[in-house]
Amino acid sequence: MWVNMGPQHPMTHGLWNLRVRIEGEIIKDVDPEMGFLHRGIEKISEDRHYNEIITLMDRTCYVAGLSWEHLFIIAAEEALHIVPPERAEYIRVLSAELQRIGSHLMWYAAFVQDLGLTTPFLYGMRDRDLILDLFQTYTGGRLTYEYMRVGGVRNDLPLGFTARCRQVVDWLMDRFVEYDRLCLSSTIFRERCDGLGLLSAEDAIAYGVTGPMLRSAGSRRDLRKDRPYSVYGQLQFDVATANTADVTGRYLVRMEEMRQAVKIIRQCLDWLDDNPGPVMASQLPRWLGAPYAPVGNEAYLLKRNYPTGLGFSMVEEPHGEAGAYIVNDGGEHPYRVKFRSPVLINIWAAKRYLPGYRVADIPPIMGSVDVCVGECDR
C-alpha cells in the first residue's frame, strides 16, 4: 500500500511529500517527492546583479541564511576576482557559526516535537531567539539578513556587541546541558532513537549524504577542516563525530557541533576585539549592486571591460555540504548559477536508510535529517 505523507503533514516540516510503500507496519520502499517549493532561484539569479542575489540566498535556506550568503559570496568573489579584507572574513565566520547554532536549535525544536515532546520545542525556539537578537543587532534582520556583500560585509559590528555575544553563548552552553537532560537522559527518547535510520559511512558516501548524517557514522569529513575556506584554517576546533550512525548519533553530532561553534565564536570574538579595520574591499565596481545603486544601461555596458571567470565554493552548512558554481561571462549578471543542496541529496537517500523500519519510525528518522525545503527545492 502506498501512503502519502505530505505535503501537508506535520512530519514533513515543509512542503514535500514522502510516498511510502508499507506492508503492515514495515516500510518496503519510499519515494520522496520534491519541488513543491521550487521558486526558480537559479533562474531569477541570472537576471540580478551580484549583490541582489544575496537577498535570494537568505530565502533559499531560511533557517541558515547567513551560511548560504557565505557560500554565494565565496563563489562570487572567486568569479569576480575580488579579495575581501580579513576582518570581513572573521565577521562572516562568526555569523556562519552563530547561524549554525541557530539552525541546529531550530532542528532540535522541530525534531523533538516530532517525537511528541513539545517542551523542547519551546526551549529551542526561546534560545534561538537570543541568536536572532544578536543578528538583529548588527544586520538589522531577524531571518533575512542581506548582510554580506561581494567584497566584504555591509557594516562593522556595533559597539559592545562582542561582550553581549559572549554573554549569550555562555548562557547557551548551560542550555545544551539542559537539552541533554531532557532527551539523552530519557529512556523513552533513547528507545525511540537508538539504532534507527542506520546509514553506514560507505553507504552515506555512495549516496552523497553529507553533514551531520555522515559524521554520525564515524567519518571525520568536515569541509572546514579538510578544505579550509575563509579563515577556518586559523581557528581551533574539533570535528564532531559519533560512531552509531543512527538518530541518536546525529543528535550527538549536532549538539557537539553547537559546542564547537561556541568555541569558534569565542576565538572570532577575541580576534575581532583586537583587530579593527575595514570590512569592505576598496575599488569595487558599482555594478555589483548594493550599497551602490546598479545604474546601468546600454552605454554603460558597452564602454566597460568586465572580468570573466568561474567561481566554485563548497561550504559546510548546518545541513551538510552546500556548493555554488557561478559562471561569470563578463556581464552585470552571472550567466549561470548552480547550487548544490545537501538536503535534496539527504532526503533522496531515504531510499537507503528508511526501508526496513516501521511507520512510527519515520518521524524521528526524517527529523534527524534536518529538512529545509527551501534549499532543497530552490
Binding site: 501512503v3 505523507m5 503533514h9 506535520p10 512530519m11 507496519e25 523533538v112 516535537q113 516530532d114 517525537l115 511528541g116 515532546l117 513539545t118 517542551t119 519551546l122 526551549y123 526561546r126 531532557l182 532527551c183 530519557s186 523513552i188 527518547f189 528507545e191 525511540r192 516501521r358 511507520v359 512510527a360 519510525d361 519515520i362 518521524p363 527529523g367
Partner: protein
C-alpha cells in the same frame, strides 16, 4: 464533614419545586404530584443535571488548568487574554466549535460517523454517576462501584474504533486500531493494580475503599501499584508518552482527523472527561479520597463542603502530575508500549498484589496486633 448529600439536596429542590407547582392544581393532581414516586423521579432528574453541570464545568476548568500548567512548564504563559487569566478561553472554544459547520466526508459511514462521538462522550459521562465525591455525594452506591466504573471506562476503544473506521481515512483507521490495541493491553495491569487495592481494602465499593484509608493512604504500602495504575491510566487516557493514536507526527490528528466542529468538540470533551475520571480514580484508590490525615488541624476540615474541596484539590494536583509527565516525556512506539505493558507493568502489578496480601497478612498476625477493620 458536612451532613448534606447530593441526593438530599436534589430531593429538597425537587420537593420544593413540586410543592409550588402542585399549588395551582386541583387536589387529585396535587396529591399525585407530591407523591413519593414523582418526587423521586424529579429528584433523579435534578440530580443528573447538577452532576452533569458540575462535571462539565470541572472538565472545562481542567482544560484551562492543563493549558496554564503546560505553559509554565514550557516557560510561557498559556491562554490569558480571554476572560480573567484565560478562564473563558475554553468556553469560547466550545461555543465556536458548536457554531462551526460539521462536514462529513462523502465516503464516510453516516451512522458511525455521527454516533461514535456522541456515544463516546455519553459513556464517559456516565461514570460520574457512580463516583463518590465526598460522603454521600455520589449517585449510586453499589457494592461493585469500582468494577462498574472500570467497565464503563473501557467502553471507549469501541467507539473510538467505530468513529475511526467510519470516517474512512487511512490515518484515522490506523489511529483507531492503535487506540483499541493499546487500551485493551493496558486493562490488565490496571485491573491487577486495582486488585491490590481491593485486597487491602476488602471491598469493591469506592466509598468503602476511601473509608478504609482513614488510617493511612494506600499509596504508601502500594507504591508499586500506584505507579502501575498511573502508567496504565496514562495509556488508557492516551496522554503523552502513550498518545500513539493521536501521534501528530505520523498520523495527522489520529482518529479524529476527519472530525470537525461539534463532533470534534465531543471527542475533546470526552477525552477530558476521561482525564478527570482517571484523576478521580487515582485519588479515590490511593490518595485517600476526600479524607485528610488526622494531624491536619480541624480548621481545615470542618468548613462546609470541606470534603469536596479537598477532593478537588487532590484531583487537580494529580492531573498536574499528568501534565508534568506530558511536558517532559516523548512518545513511545507501539511495540515498546505493548512490551512495557505486558513485560513490565503486569509483573509489577502482580508484585504489588503480593505486597498488598503481605500487608494484610502483617495486620492479621497477632504479634503485630490484628486490625480487624482492615478487612483481612
Amino acid at each position: 464533614m458536612s451532613s448534606a448529600s447530593l441526593f438530599s439536596v436534589s430531593d429538597t429542590i425537587a420537593a420544593w419545586l413540586l410543592a409550588h407547582i402542585a399549588y395551582v392544581f386541583p387536589p387529585p393532581v396535587k396529591g399525585w404530584l407530591t407523591s413519593g414516586d414523582v418526587v423521586l423521579g424529579l429528584t433523579a432528574l435534578i440530580f443528573s443535571a447538577i452532576l452533569l453541570g458540575a462535571s462539565m464545568i470541572n472538565v472545562i476548568v481542567l482544560i484551562w488548568w492543563e493549558r496554564k500548567l503546560l505553559g509554565r512548564f514550557m516557560d510561557r504563559r498559556g491562554a490569558m487574554h480571554v476572560g480573567f487569566a484565560g478562564l473563558l478561553q475554553n468556553f469560547a472554544d466550545g461555543l465556536k466549535l458548536f457554531r462551526k459547520d460539521t462536514v462529513r466526508p462523502t465516503q464516510a459511514d453516516e451512522l458511525g460517523f455521527w454516533l461514535s462521538p456522541t456515544a463516546y462522550l455519553v459513556t464517559s459521562l456516565v461514570i460520574f454517576a457512580i463516583l463518590p465525591i465526598s460522603t454521600g455525594w455520589n449517585g449510586g452506591s453499589l457494592p461493585l462501584t469500582l468494577l462498574l466504573a472500570l467497565v464503563i471506562f473501557s467502553f471507549a476503544p469501541l467507539f473510538i474504533f467505530l468513529g475511526a473506521w467510519a470516517s474512512n481515512n487511512k490515518y484515522a483507521l490506523i489511529g483507531g486500531m492503535r487506540s483499541a490495541a493499546q487500551m485493551i493491553a493496558y486493562e490488565v495491569p490496571i485491573l491487577l493494580a486495582v486488585v491490590a487495592v481491593v485486597v487491602l481494602a476488602g471491598s469493591f465499593d469506592l466509598t468503602t475503599i476511601v473509608m478504609e484509608q482513614r488510617n493511612y493512604w494506600f499509596w504508601a504500602p502500594l507504591f508499586l501499584a500506584l505507579i502501575v495504575f498511573l502508567t496504565g491510566m496514562l495509556a488508557e487516557m492516551e496522554r503523552i508518552p502513550f498518545d500513539l493514536p493521536e501521534a501528530e507526527a505520523e498520523l495527522v490528528e489520529g482518529w479524529n482527523t476527519e472530525y470537525g466542529g461539534m463532533l470534534f468538540a465531543f471527542f475533546m470533551l470526552a477525552d477530558y472527561v476521561r482525564y478527570l475520571v482517571g484523576s478521580i480514580l487515582v485519588v479515590l484508590l490511593f490518595l485517600g479520597g476526600w479524607t485528610l490525615p488526622s494531624y491536619v488541624p480541624s480548621v481545615l476540615t470542618s468548613f462546609p463542603l470541606a470534603g469536596i474541596v479537598w477532593f478537588m484539590v487532590k484531583v487537580y494536583l494529580v492531573f498536574g502530575v499528568f501534565v508534568w509527565v506530558r511536558a517532559s516525556l516523548p512518545r513511545m512506539r507501539t511495540d515498546q508500549l505493548l512490551r512495557l505493558g505486558w513485560m513490565r507493568m503486569v509483573p509489577l502489578a502482580l508484585l504489588s498484589v503480593i505486597l498488598a496480601a503481605l500487608v494484610v497478612a502483617a495486620h492479621c498476625l497477632p504479634v503485630l496486633g490484628c486490625v480487624p477493620s482492615m478487612g483481612g
